[in-house]
């Protein structure tokens, strides 16, 4: 076996790579990294960072597991419960990841080591806590040397955060299109002129973007061709970046979705009933991982998280996820991971060979998926036929807790008020028939007087993320086409 067996996103760094053996995650450390690895351990930096919760801990494993003869060691890092990406993080999460990276570099410098890269993909969230996962990113620091990861830090963190804070929070999605971070010239063009009043933004984005690119040398450049940067100047650079990041703020307005729960669609008694049914169904379903899709600010996600189940709380609205994240930080909720995910355009597999970043489906299946007050948004507002929805659900979970909202519900009436009703199939019988092809319905309970129903279902066969969704039934396709034509 060789490096070909390494996981998709782990091929750039010659120091080593990550691989999976019998379901366990390992990292091979190559001989070329030996000196740096020994310094990481001997300097006490590894222990210090792990104790502060900034670096993922690892154990050394048998060298016999190595995939190639370049190996110096094999380590077994503690796996993170759910891998997420910067384009799925809210503003507060990206900011926390940026500050953690700078803190890591500050502590590393104090122990005569430095981060050789500052990719946002090297940070993962365990609940609300950002943790650095690339143990091989540390190198011995030589005084006078520049910070090799300076530009990368600006592209991965400072530029997207500045765009989100100064222009529009949705610009965080530029990270999905630019896998090595937002190009600085693009950020400089998009930022308003007033952003130049902030010295770190002026320096590290606007001027940095305009620093004159030099002709790539025909021969390898002498390392000391720049002015040496003293250790004090290096600390000042890191501190200036920290000030820049800390100065950026984004306060979500009370989003319409936050208002949703105060809306007229439920009475207090009905909310209490829905909560108690969700609790009961969760106790009957799988308890390993829960994904709450269309979670809003995560009221129901928290029912799962409070049971100690690691819960991904996702919604397409950045404001909802920001509020959910801030609440989770305030209340020290450790089993909740809020993420921005748009179900009608979920995170794809990205990067080289489509294998560097996994799609949402590839990161599943979850034990249990919650789809509460979601079906009508997907079916009526987005023309997703019931059959497709059931097919998607079967790919991402083993157990499904799903709510059906009938046409006479005020929220559906509101959705239909602004469009032609081309959904004759939208009724409880058709919903159940579509889902029963994939799932066994274990419970079916009424939630509201308007006829909202809550179901607990279990997949008829093990979820297979590779399986494509089934072609739409003819009527479904006709209805979808008619709806598209009418808009």
């Amino acid at each position: 076996m060789s490096r070909d067996a390494a996981v998709g996103g782990s091929f750039r760094d010659p120091s080593g790579f990550v691989f999976v053996d019998s379901g366990t995650l390992y990292r091979q450390v190559n001989r070329s990294y030996r000196g740096h690895y020994e310094a990481l351990i001997a300097s006490g930096l590894y222990r210090d960072l792990v104790e502060r919760g900034l670096l993922v801990p690892h154990e050394e494993a048998a060298i016999g597991l190595a995939l190639s003869d370049e190996a110096y060691k094999v380590i077994r890092p503690q796996p993170v419960p759910f891998v997420s990406y910067p384009y799925e993080w809210c503003f507060g999460q990206l900011k926390a990841a940026a500050l953690a990276t700078l803190e890591l570099q500050r502590i590393a410098l104090s122990k005569s080591m430095t981060l050789k890269d500052a990719s946002a993909y090297n940070v993962q969230f365990i609940g609300t806590r950002p943790v650095f996962i690339d143990t091989l990113s540390f190198e011995r620091y030589e005084e006078g040397a520049p910070w090799a990861a300076y530009r990368q830090f600006c592209q991965h963190f400072l530029a997207p955060l500045a765009l989100m804070a100064y222009r529009d929070v949705r610009l965080g999605q530029l990270l999905r299109a630019n896998i090595d971070g937002v190009p600085l010239d693009l950020a400089a063009r998009l930022l308003p002129a007033r952003s130049m009043a902030c010295l770190p933004i002026l320096l590290h984005i606007h001027l940095h973007a305009r620093s004159k690119p030099v002709q790539a040398p025909s021969r390898p450049r002498d390392k000391a061709s720049h002015r040496p940067i003293s250790a004090r100047a290096m600390m000042a650079l890191i501190d200036s970046l920290r000030q820049g990041i800390e100065s950026l703020r984004w306060r979500p307005e009370e989003s319409i979705w936050r208002e949703y729960y105060r809306d007229l669609s439920y009475s207090d008694a009905e909310v209490a009933r829905k909560k108690s049914l969700v609790s009961e169904f969760l106790d009957l379903a799988g308890r390993d991982t829960v994904w709450d899709l269309g979670a809003n600010t995560g009221v129901y996600s928290r029912i799962a998280a409070s049971r100690g189940i690691y819960t991904v709380c996702s919604d397409f609205d950045p404001a909802c996820i920001e509020l959910s994240y801030l609440d989770a930080c305030r209340n020290d909720e450790r089993s909740l991971l809020p993420l921005i995910l748009d179900l009608v355009n979920p995170s794809p597999s990205l990067g080289w060979n489509h294998a560097e970043r996994s799609s949402l489906v590839e990161r599943g299946p979850a034990d249990t998926v919650l789809m509460l007050a979601l079906v009508h948004h997907l079916v009526i507002a987005n023309n997703v036929p019931f059959g497709h929805l059931a097919g998607f659900a079967a790919r991402v979970c083993r157990n499904l807790i799903v709510e059906f909202v009938p046409k006479r519900d005020p929220m559906v009436e509101r959705l239909l008020a602004s469009r032609r009703d081309v959904f004759p199939e939208y009724e409880q019988g058709a919903f159940e028939a579509a889902f029963e092809r994939r799932f066994t319905i274990r419970r079916r309970d009424a939630v509201t007087a308007t006829g909202r129903m809550l179901y607990l279902m279990t997949s008829k066969k093990p979820a297979d993320p590779r399986e494509g969704s089934e072609p739409a039934a003819f009527q479904d396709r006709v209805a979808a086409a008619a709806a598209r034509a009418s808009t």
Partner: protein, 76 residues
């Protein structure tokens, strides 16, 4: 702070100079290193001035200041 103002003037000169065209054989990494070397000295001087200012303030107000900022225990 007059240093900040001076730095902003330098910055303005940079901006007026115009953005260079992108080219596959141009090396943004080296440009970044040269830029970093150029600003790091100025930032160090600013950092030093601020540190002195902090200490002077601390002396008069009697506040204890940590010498280095620590963000690890800060709630995000």
């Amino acid at each position: 702070m007059s240093r900040v103002r001076a730095l902003r003037l330098v910055a303005l000169a940079f901006l007026i100079a115009g953005a260079p065209a992108a080219h596959a054989y141009l090396d943004p990494g080296t440009a970044s290193v040269l830029f970093q070397a150029a600003i790091a000295g100025v930032l160090a001087a600013l950092f030093y001035v601020k540190e002195i200012w902090r200490r002077v303030k601390a002396f008069f107000t009697g506040e204890e200041r940590r010498s280095a900022p620590d963000v690890s225990d800060r709630n995000p």
